[in-house]
């Protein structure tokens, strides 16, 4: 059976007005001809969408960097470095993430001070374990997850 002619018939495209309306709904805030002229507006819209897609990934990176910057400042206030804080908390099996830690450093300073002490002690304990000496007055407790 000859089917090619049937396949040349397509469904009608959307009305030109509606197609352009979609673009202008997305570009109503742009400047000048980028707002009102379709040929220019569609390019601006596509650029904007590309920047937004890239920005969504970059925002996550930027925000994490800001948490780390803030934790660096907060741990310096307590006489620790950021690396010691993170490694010490990891050794003490405290699994609080950087987002919550930086929030605590700003809004719950006493809690953060206690966490810094935990990190300081467990970081020191790691070295003591390597050298074979136990610090006095320290009670270590390891949590096992089954």
């Amino acid at each position: 059976m000859f089917l090619t002619l049937a396949r040349y018939v397509r469904s009608p495209p959307p009305d030109r007005w509606w197609k352009r309306r979609y673009v202008f709904n997305n570009t109503w805030r742009f400047w000048g001809r980028h707002r009102n002229c379709y040929k220019i507006a569609i390019q601006s819209m596509q650029h904007a969408w590309r920047h937004a897609r890239r920005g969504r990934a970059e925002k996550k990176r930027f925000v994490r960097g800001l948490w780390i910057e803030r934790l660096r400042a907060a741990s310096e206030e307590h006489g620790l470095s950021y690396e010691h804080l993170v490694v010490g908390l990891d050794m003490a099996q405290v699994q609080i993430d950087r987002k919550v830690l930086s929030h605590l450093a700003i809004y719950e300073p006493k809690t953060f001070k206690a966490l810094a002490e935990i990190a300081r002690i467990s970081y020191g304990e790691g070295l003591m374990a390597a050298t074979g000496k136990q610090p006095e007055g320290v009670f270590t407790r390891v949590v096992h997850w089954e």
Binding site: L66, E69, R70, L71, R72, A73, A74, E76, E77, S102, A105, I106
Partner: protein, 178 residues
């Protein structure tokens, strides 16, 4: 705290910090001053909030450079005459104006954005320890030094000299070969 508003004002208030540049290595000192000017020493830091502090640097004429940097490092100086830019060694530049070396170093360490000029106006440099009274009133805290200044041999006490660890103690009749 009486209210949240007061707590907010106190958290974001701009502090005045003192820095002693006596015998401090210049590039490391500049990085430390930048950190305090930008506000990176605060847990509430954000690049968009203007949370940096004022930094008052004293004894800038006694700042230190490593090795032979005083002779080797060159600064571009505008003489004011047309088409002439002079490369001055750090020694001559420091002799010309004792505060300019630290000013140039901090300017090059700051992030290269529109905040830079603004932050430079919050840096106050003095060649010795004479500070105007209106700035002295504002000072709140001291920036910890980059390096403790080294002591001369005659500044050590006899006990310290005797208890200093030695590699080996030679016998009484030891004579070094000439």
């Amino acid at each position: 705290m009486a209210s949240r508003v007061q707590q907010h004002w106190l958290t974001f208030s701009r502090m005045w910090l003192l820095c002693d540049a006596r015998w401090q290595p210049t590039p490391e000192l500049a990085k430390r001053i930048c950190k305090y000017l930008e506000g990176r020493h605060k847990p509430v830091y954000h690049p968009l909030t203007d949370c940096g502090d004022h930094v008052v640097v004293i004894n800038t004429k006694e700042v230190a450079f490593d090795k032979n940097q005083w002779e080797k490092k060159l600064y571009a100086v505008n003489t004011g005459y047309k088409d002439t830019m002079i490369a001055m060694s750090a020694k001559d530049f420091h002799r010309m104006d004792p505060t300019k070396v630290i000013e140039r170093e901090v300017y090059s360490e700051l992030p290269k954005n529109s905040q830079r000029q603004n932050l430079m106006t919050r840096l106050h440099l003095f060649p010795d320890e004479n500070i105007p009274d209106n700035i002295k009133e504002n000072l709140v805290d001291i920036i910890p030094p980059v390096m403790e200044p080294p002591k001369r041999l005659d500044e050590f006490t006899e006990e310290e000299k005797a208890s200093w660890p030695r590699f080996f103690i030679p016998p009484a009749d030891y004579k070094p070969a000439d």
